[in-house]
């Protein structure tokens, strides 16, 4: 029985034992980035770990803060990012990137990309909560940002983006409703994380779709070869497909994976806050678990995982709990009645391949 998601609820659901923490002896590291001009306070992390972190070894503070941290009020998203990245990827050196104090004419997300292009040594895993509607961004901007993700992938950085909290999204194009993909979630060079809920919110049960979980098909990027088979399988077997006019079946499909996104406890400005929900929560959780796998890889003399998708799809999502129940939201009209895509066996555009089962995932990603 539990009253919302805490680190111990997550660790139990994803089969993380007290031993599944960083060793503290490697150069392993992880980072979370948010561009909401929010502040993060170390004192919140201390209070959070005092309340929820007693049953696993963890670091008491972040290793590095990039971007000025002021004495303003802490932001709930900045607090959540750090608290759950350091709970899932426990006892692993953690950086926090936030952009307060930048010049007014700068774009926070762009400044983060410049940082990636200017620092030789960076954490292996980056979890990022940022997304915009694809159609609101210029194609030259989207393509250039996508190239920046390619540069990061070539360097072996793992970039995880939240899939968004508006389900399939919805907009009207020349009077006809269509689903509305978001970017960077739709980039073929990042790993996108969707959201799930417990079937029973007060018990640790199997997971179902969280109706907000962002997902769908890009209108900008063609489907990468690594996911063609999985997507074709879904389009062939799904019994709840929306009308084909709502989405671009030949586009990059996302998300790739998922984790719990519903009902988190967060400590912000020293106050424990319950029932916080969004894929900004599932992303650091999945990122922390990948950091733990990097820890084992590094201890075994292996390189970090890097850009995960080709391997993830090749292994058909081995090591993940497949989520097969539930649908996410979309257009509120008679045609689709607010329902977007529905999850199903294997990969689907609501929860990807599913949520992490740590021991099984470690087994499939440890070698080579």
């Amino acid at each position: 029985l539990h009253l919302g998601v805490t680190p111990s609820v997550l660790r139990q659901r994803y089969n993380l034992t007290a031993q599944d923490v960083g060793s503290g002896t490697t150069n392993n590291s992880q980072a979370c980035a948010q561009f909401l001009e929010q502040y993060f306070h170390d004192s919140d992390l201390t209070e959070f770990m005092r309340l929820f972190g007693s049953d696993f070894a963890h670091q008491a503070s972040v290793a590095k803060v990039v971007g000025k941290q002021g004495r303003g009020r802490a932001g709930i998203e900045a607090s959540l990012d750090v608290e759950y990245l350091m709970s899932a990827g426990a006892n692993i050196s953690t950086w926090v990137y936030s952009s307060p104090g930048r010049h007014e004419a700068q774009e926070p997300f762009l400044q983060w990309l410049l940082l990636l292009s200017n620092q030789s040594t960076l954490p292996h895993v980056h979890t990022v909560s940022y997304g915009d509607d694809e159609d609101s961004l210029s194609s030259v901007y989207i393509q250039r940002v996508n190239t920046e993700f390619m540069k990061a992938a070539a360097r072996g950085l793992t970039l995880l983006f939240a899939s968004g909290d508006t389900g399939a999204g919805c907009w009207s194009v020349s009077g006809k409703h269509k689903f509305r993909p978001s970017f960077p979630a739709s980039s073929p060079y990042v790993t996108t994380v969707g959201g799930t809920s417990f079937r029973n919110p007060f018990l640790i049960t199997n997971e179902v779709v969280d109706y907000i979980s962002g997902g769908g098909f890009s209108n900008v990027f063609p489907q990468p070869s690594y996911q063609e088979e999985a997507v074709a399988q879904f389009l062939k077997s799904s019994s709840h497909l929306p009308p084909s006019s709502y989405f671009n079946a030949s586009g990059r499909a996302y998300p790739d994976v998922a984790a719990l996104s519903d009902g988190y406890w967060v400590v912000s400005n020293k106050v424990p806050i319950p029932w916080v929900s969004g894929t900004s929560a599932s992303t650091p959780v999945f990122g922390g678990i990948l950091s733990l796998i990097n820890e084992h890889r590094i201890l075994n003399g292996r390189p970090p995982l890097g850009f995960l998708n080709p391997r993830l799809y090749q292994q058909h999502g081995a090591g993940l709990f497949d989520v097969t129940h539930g649908c996410h939201e979309s257009c509120l009209n008679e045609e689709v009645e607010g329902q977007g895509f529905c999850s199903g066996p294997g990969w689907d555009p609501v929860t990807g391949w599913g949520t992490p089962n740590f021991p099984a995932l470690l087994k499939t990603l440890l070698n080579p």
Binding site: V140, Y141, A281
Partner: protein, 176 residues
């Protein structure tokens, strides 16, 4: 001239308010995304280092390797720097890969450099953030088309958080 981002949506996000035009003598920091080279090759390299079946799997590039591969051509670097310095840009900073250049200009210099741009100050978002943006599309000299992808800092607003605090779920049965 030409418009590098004709399809960039310009719409004041909900909750943001204009505080009017920025004084022409104020200073601005703008980021110029320079065109890169060898992107096909970069894409191939990403495939081989990310495919577990490839002998190159996990043999990642360093930042310096990536810089050597994608850095803009000498002509691009020279042309853009000349254009910016002639416009009065100063305190220009590049990055290791040299494909981004951030410079400081006065508002009037920036509005001359980027025909059509008009800088206004806005406030909004949960943190009452102040930003300076242009509500009108900017243009670049046609001669720059082979050298610049886009100019950052003119149109896109900071994102807003989509985290929500949901109402406590109704207990399944009674929860003691």
């Amino acid at each position: 001239t030409y418009s590098p981002e004709p399809d960039q949506r310009w719409m004041l996000p909900p909750g943001w308010v204009s505080l009017g035009r920025v004084d022409s003598e104020e200073e601005l920091s703008l980021t110029f995304a320079l065109k890169q080279q060898n992107l096909e090759r970069l894409s191939e390299l990403v495939q081989v280092v990310s495919d577990p079946n490839s002998p190159q799997y996990g043999k990642y590039l360093t930042l310096e390797d990536v810089a050597e591969l994608v850095q803009p051509s000498p002509l691009t670097l020279r042309t853009v720097r000349k254009w910016l310095l002639a416009a009065g840009a100063r305190n220009c900073h590049s990055v290791t890969t040299q494909d981004f250049l951030t410079c400081w200009l006065s508002v009037w210099q920036a509005e001359l450099l980027l025909p059509g741009a008009e800088f206004h100050r806005y406030v909004g978002g949960p943190a009452e953030t102040h930003v300076v943006r242009s509500p009108h599309p900017y243009q670049l000299p046609q001669a720059l088309a082979p050298h610049v992808d886009f100019v950052g800092g003119l149109h896109r607003f900071p994102p807003t958080s989509s985290l929500r605090q949901r109402p406590k779920p109704q207990g399944v049965g009674t929860v003691g």
